[in-house]
Symmetry: C2
Subunit: 160 residues, 2 copies
Amino acid sequence: MSRPIAERAFQDFYPDDFSHCYGCGRLNPSGLRIRSFREGDEAVCRFTPGPHHLAVPGFVYGGLLASLVDCHAMGAAADAAYRAEGRAPGSDPPLRFVTASLRVDFLRPTPHGPEIEVRARAREVKGRKVVLDARVLVRGEECVRGEVVAVRMPGTMAGG
Amino acid sequence: MSRPIAERAFQDFYPDDFSHCYGCGRLNPSGLRIRSFREGDEAVCRFTPGPHHLAVPGFVYGGLLASLVDCHAMGAAADAAYRAEGRAPGSDPPLRFVTASLRVDFLRPTPHGPEIEVRARAREVKGRKVVLDARVLVRGEECVRGEVVAVRMPGTMAGG
């Protein structure tokens, strides 16, 4: 499967005031700045952990994996919601999601070094809620399984 | 309740080769280096997010909150396991835990700026497993609820 490097990521469509997130904000210079793309019916994010992103030497920090699953799922939720409404990504009014619930099961230790692939798929798009299944893979082996409930951003967070 | 600043944190008892974790390793200079203490029947960690730890301006990044819950719960699991065996913290052989499953429910946006308090309590200590309930509070208001399943570190991770 070819890698859609030249495409715009889901996060590229986020409004500027929604782009300061430590995990996925393109305007947060200290953050992870993950980028997520559609590949077939899945959303895919690839990320190489830094040397400091350790749990124990040789294995990736679980909090980083939870963060990747979380932010990637929010991008995938927005993409799924735009598609469910038959709208172009990023079209107004913007569809912004935040995490209501995040669950990650660490199936096996995630080896540190290689690129990580995070895959997500919207299982349910209903009203203001999107439920997603996620997986973290290294060299094709599933290391983490995630379930994320995304909800439309409440008014109390906008411009907070 | 007085703050046990002068006491040794749970993480101070971790063996050196278990102290490189991005979230709680005292030997990871780029990490969060959280410290957890016992207060009554709860384990407490206090942490002030950095200016870059944002979700959107004004609110704390959820991945950071998940990371704090995760690492703090691992410290609390070790503490609970030592106590369940009637042993002094850090005594040999060391009891090391890793996360099998992490769930965080974001009850409301967590305001960015004030110190965060993470509280955890072991609900079950059984065999190689500890199940913990966690809460994240800001100025006494509960913002996040967590459930964490900790398991004794598998041999495949030790010295990995």
